[in-house]
Symmetry: C2
Amino acid sequence: MNAYRPNPAETTFLLFDVLRLPQQLAELPALAEVADPALMQQVLEEAGKFVGEVVAPLNRDGDEIGCRFEAGTVTAPPGFADAYRAFWQAGWPALATATEDGGQGLPSVLEAVLYEWLSAANHGWTMAPGLLHGAYECVKHHASDALKAQYLEKLATGEWLATMCLTEPHAGSDLGLVRTKAVPQPDGGYLLSGTKIFISGGEHDLSENIVHLVLARLPDAPAGPKGLSLFLVPKFYTDGSGHSAGPSQARPAPSGGSAPHEVGSVGAWVRSAVVCERIEEKMGLHGSPTCVMRFDEAHAQIVGEPGRGLNAMFVMMNAARLHVALQGVGLLDAAWQKANAYAAERRQMRAPGPRVDGEAADLIHRHPAMRQKLDTQRAWVDAGRVLAYRTALELDVAKHHPDAARRASAQRWCALTTPVLKSAFTEQAFSGGSECLQVFGGHGYVREWGIEQIVRDARVSMIYEGTNEIQAIDLLLRKVLPDGGTALNQLLDELGEGLRISALRDMAQTVVKAAPSSETLAHEVAGDFLRATALVLLDWAWQQIENAAPTDDERWQRPALALHQRVLPEFEMRRQMVLARCAQ
Amino acid sequence: MNAYRPNPAETTFLLFDVLRLPQQLAELPALAEVADPALMQQVLEEAGKFVGEVVAPLNRDGDEIGCRFEAGTVTAPPGFADAYRAFWQAGWPALATATEDGGQGLPSVLEAVLYEWLSAANHGWTMAPGLLHGAYECVKHHASDALKAQYLEKLATGEWLATMCLTEPHAGSDLGLVRTKAVPQPDGGYLLSGTKIFISGGEHDLSENIVHLVLARLPDAPAGPKGLSLFLVPKFYTDGSGHSAGPSQARPAPSGGSAPHEVGSVGAWVRSAVVCERIEEKMGLHGSPTCVMRFDEAHAQIVGEPGRGLNAMFVMMNAARLHVALQGVGLLDAAWQKANAYAAERRQMRAPGPRVDGEAADLIHRHPAMRQKLDTQRAWVDAGRVLAYRTALELDVAKHHPDAARRASAQRWCALTTPVLKSAFTEQAFSGGSECLQVFGGHGYVREWGIEQIVRDARVSMIYEGTNEIQAIDLLLRKVLPDGGTALNQLLDELGEGLRISALRDMAQTVVKAAPSSETLAHEVAGDFLRATALVLLDWAWQQIENAAPTDDERWQRPALALHQRVLPEFEMRRQMVLARCAQ
């Protein structure tokens, strides 16, 4: 089994030569100072070492031993807790959080690279800090000063981990159906009760406290999504005065859910009335506990305004969606690395073409069907990295650029591309991961080589943080149709000229015109529309790579060829499918 | 968790109304007598009961408990051995074997239906009898009379199970590299030594004896595939005289591999020097032990002529390939049944279109993206059943039709369609199974609903019995190009007229003309060529269904629509990919 290794040199090429990162960051006063190429390169090299040496080696045990659940406690797989402690203490979670909150204030794109690598190396482990940045942004932008004083630095540095508690047994994609209740208390706090499912990292032993961000309803809230508010429920809490000991010295949660009444005892940490009832048995991702969490009059504080819970949560969900797209890119790269290494050292059958050595069989990568698979998946990975890094860069541009028009275009880029990247690259991590598995033949199906784990792990990314079908609806029905395609056209203008770009523009107009004629049309074409958009973005990303790469380098030539021969032909198929439906 | 249920009524429609089975069988003197519709219907109903009541309920334990390995013995999951005994005693393995060998002599197509259903209900369990028919045919057509006397009836009835021992650690797709040796002995037998891997059912407790068919080399054999001979190695053997006790009373295998020297003792069963060294940890299919088998001067008999081992094995491999295609069809049907049932009872979000009830959310199957998935996969399943049943019918036609030309056309059908069906339907079981998983949202990723097991189990079918890439090479390089496309054209003539049929014909001619210009071209387009052929066959199958189905029945209308809107557009994409490569 060959473990995943990050490749800082190629990453530097994509960031500096293809995306011209230093020049882009130089336009952002807040980041201009830290945009020093040498510094960024050093950060990437250190990150690569940490990922390759500390996190990657734990991946197999994460799958095979997995998380253990016993009487409400969850024990992470061997080494996970130590690795997280090292990660936090080295300051990695704080990479791109603000210096005033205890962070390092580096560009988001470096965090994007870090999480791509972490996901590739160990998807299960990476789930733990995966929601940190979103929780940090959510608290930073929506919580009261009092809450921020207690939680913001802990989240900014990663000393405490966070969860996002949305789904309930009857409410998955449709959060409007959430039933969890929060009852206001005289002290300004709330008692929160209900059951949440599919909570990644709801309970574990990686950090001494866990901060749950929970969607719930006030007693007088209207039905539907507008009745939702957001609450913060810590695993351990104190009233903030004189707590010399940390949460690990907390008293157990009082039974009967009367926790908040105990808070009076100064300096004592109390365990909230929130418990993990069980963890799910899953297809993969065994290194991450997927918890059923029961809140039983748990100590809660509101985050943001009543009834504005979804709004506050959106900050977190958008960050999470780009993060999931990066998981897809990383997992596909990990699968490719394994398959590529295997194909370069194992022999099987005679390949067509002249004999290259005296062996009885040829190396697997000389067989055309295998070569096609490897080059095609490489084309997806390289494009995915360019697109996801660019999106992370646009996050900073949207926040820090002095020019309002440029901020708006960055906002537009993120809004339009995030659902596309989330959907396309999680799909590709699974289907392309399966193609990489095929390179191993029968050996791909057994555990030994670790490739089947990637396929199992990757499958969930097509579902969580909004299923890929929700992403398609988000793109077409929420972001393209409402403004008649204007924002999409502006994005396409920025991408430049190209046959597929103008075909996508025309297709969007056809859908804009046809959609009002049928209540279901837009839903029916949304998936194909997203795929067509993804392929235009891939095409664009490879143009950027080809503009920067040496023209005679097989490393870039081969995936570029595979892109044109084996990936982009899908565009015309999707276009025809959309147009056929619109013509009905 | 809703278990798979066979659907004899729909099967009868496909067999009798779409494929006109009774009329087709009436042309075959050997089967005319048993081709009574009422009899066949009764067999199907009994088969459906057995599959649904005995085999399906064991599927979950097969996955979760799996096979246990201890000191050379393999214990099947709970209930597997009893179910196999009941299966054998009820005569199911003997359904389509010849009456003179102890079988029931029914048409192959009934066996095809039976194995499709078994695979859908419990893929792991079905692996055990899955190679029986092929082993029976192999022994029947290639073994000596003495060997037949000992083994043919046992295999025809399924009293003993069989394996196919091909792969070695360094020789998977390329059997020419096999190193296992067989050394002739003075008594006419052989001592066989070597290690075989990925042996399904190499050791288990389902039957009292196991018959291994093993590819090996004689000491003076030339290198490569022409040096391979086929051998029969029983787990237990006797010299055939006076064995009153069965193998279960056998003495243990003598150490040092001197087994054959012990045979003299009349009536005693001896255990061969073949041991299971371990079973693989796999992605799925935990109900079937995948064994590493060590032969250590094991008692062996030759099957067929020296150097003609691959030839003898081909009988078995072709039967196995159609069987694997049926696994794909069955597994996809099982996935569809689960998703369809879930989507018809669970609610999530508001679907577009008018409200149909007063509930806060709509049934999942009312959401267009989910409806498309369900209908698309149903289109694949229905077409797969028609195509696989037709192929099973053609197997009987090839054997029994009085007219030589009709026998030749049947042979052609089987040769050309088997690799296509094996590849296309195993691919679809995995990718379409994953689409069905998506219908469950997050619930699809947890074990509870059993849908993720189908996806894991199905993945192996793309690899074994010749990887799907080998199937593509088999189709194009061995069956289309050598005769300049003549056989394919004859097959297409039989399919009738149609845009895609003539496009495939033209495409084949383009490849025939372009192939000599490049050593790699045919390999490069083989996969796309197979996909295009598969889509033409799907189109044809659905024409047959639509000719027979009531025109106003949503059951058939919806998948027919999905076929045209969402499946067949791939044909033009594949055609363009092939043509673009040929034009280079």
